[in-house]
Subunit: 231 residues, 2 copies
C-alpha cells in the first residue's frame, strides 16, 4: 500500500511539473507577444490555455482518486491537498499569461506596451519567466533554495509593479487612457503571476519543514502586505 501511495505521489508531482512547464512556455510567449505586438503568438497562448486548464482538472481528479482509494492521513494527506492547491495556483498563473496575451491581441495592430514603459515590462516579463522556470525546478527537485530565489524575484516584480503606478501617475505621463489602462492591467497580471508562484513555493517549503499553519498565515500576511503596496 505504501508503495502504491508513493507511486501516486510521484504521478501527482510529475503532473505538477508538466503543468508548470506549460505555464513557463505560456508566460514566455505572452511576454513576447505583448512586447512585440505579435498577435499570432498571442492567439497561441490563448488557445493553449485550455490545455493547462484540462491538465489541472485531470490532476485534481487524480488527487481525489488517491484520497478515495488510499485514504492517506497526516502528512500524506496534506501532500495530496497541497497538490490540489498548487494545481489551482498553476492554473491561475496560466490565466495571467493568457490575460497578457489578450491585451496584446486587443490592441493589435497598435503596440500594447505603453510608451516609456517598454523596459519595465520587458524586465517584469523576464522576471515572471524566471520565476516560472524556478518554480518548475522547485517542484521537480524540492530543493528549497529555489523557493528563496522565487521570493527574491517576486520582490523585484513588486518593485517594478509599484514603479509602473509611479510613472503612470506622475505629471510627466503623457500616455492616452488606453496606455494607462494597459499599463495598469498588464502590471497587475505580472504581479499576480509572481504572487501565485510565491504562494506555491511557500506551500512546498512548509510541507518540507512541516509547519503548515504558519505557512498559511504567512501567505495571508505576505499577500496583504503586497496588496498594500500594489493597490
Amino acid at each position: 500500500m505504501r508503495e502504491v501511495f508513493h507511486q501516486s505521489l510521484e504521478d501527482l508531482q510529475s503532473r505538477l511539473v508538466e503543468i508548470s512547464d506549460l505555464v513557463t512556455v505560456a508566460i514566455e510567449k505572452a511576454t513576447r507577444a505583448f512586447a512585440e505586438s505579435d498577435v499570432a503568438l498571442a492567439e497561441e497562448v490563448i488557445a493553449d490555455d485550455a490545455q493547462i486548464d484540462a491538465m489541472a482538472l485531470r490532476l485534481d481528479e487524480a488527487a481525489i482518486e488517491i484520497l478515495a482509494r488510499q485514504q492517506p492521513v497526516a502528512r500524506d494527506l496534506r501532500i495530496v491537498i497541497t497538490a490540489l492547491r498548487v494545481s489551482a495556483s498553476l492554473e491561475r498563473m496560466g490565466d495571467m499569461a493568457e490575460h497578457i496575451a489578450q491585451l496584446a491581441r486587443l490592441r493589435f495592430p497598435e503596440r500594447a506596451i505603453p510608451k516609456g514603459l517598454k523596459g519595465t515590462f520587458r524586465r517584469m516579463g523576464e522576471l515572471d519567466v524566471e520565476i516560472s522556470r524556478t518554480l518548475g525546478d522547485l517542484l521537480r527537485t524540492q530543493d528549497l533554495r529555489f523557493a528563496d530565489a522565487i521570493r527574491n524575484a517576486d520582490d523585484d516584480v513588486d518593485e517594478l509593479h509599484a514603479s509602473v503606478f509611479e510613472k503612470v501617475l506622475s505629471d510627466n505621463w503623457k500616455g492616452e487612457a488606453t496606455a494607462t489602462v494597459d499599463a495598469t492591467l498588464a502590471s497587475r497580471y505580472h504581479e499576480r503571476f509572481a504572487d501565485h508562484a510565491v504562494a506555491v513555493a511557500k506551500k512546498v517549503v512548509y510541507l518540507a519543514t512541516g509547519d503548515w499553519t504558519v505557512a498559511e498565515e504567512d501567505i495571508a500576511l505576505a499577500a496583504s502586505a503586497q496588496d498594500d503596496a500594489g493597490a
Copy 2:
C-alpha cells in the same frame, strides 16, 4: 459514523455561511467607502479581512481533519473537497473587497470614484452586495434558484465592467491618469468578486446535480469567455 460525518458536514456548511456573511459585510462597506471616500470605513474593511482569512484557514483545517478521521469516499469526499475550494473563493472575495477599500484609502481625501462613473460603480457595488448575499442564501439553503440569480447578476456586472472600459477609452473621457487607473482596477475587482461567486455557485449546483467534471469544464469555459469580454 454516518451521524458523525453528517454533523461534520453541517459544521463545514455553517462555517462557509459564516464567512460568506462576513464577505457580504466587507463588500457592502467597501462599496460605501469607495463611493463616499470614507477612509475610516475603508480601514475597517482592511482590518476585518484578517478575520475572514483566519476563518477560512480554520475551515480548511476542519476539512482536512474530517478527511483524516472519517475517510469519506465518493460524493462525501467531493463535498469536503468542494468546501475547501469554496473557502478559497470566499477568501478571495474578501480580498477583492479589501482591494476596493484600499483604493478608497489610497486616494483619500480625494474621491476614489472617477467622475462620470459614479452611477456605474454604485450599481456594480450594489450588484456585488446582492451577489454576495444571494451566495449566502445558496450556501444556507442549497436552493439552486439562488445560483441562477447569481449568474444573472454576474452578467450585469460583466456588462458594467465592459462599459467602464468603453467610457475610459472613449474620446470624451477627460479623466486624469489617476482616474483611469482607479476605474480600471476598481472595475476589475468588482468583476472578479462576482466571478468567484459564480464559481462557487457552479460548484454547489454540480454537487447537487452530481456531474462534477462538467462543472469544472463549464467554469473554465465561462471564465475564458468572461476574460475575452473583460480584458
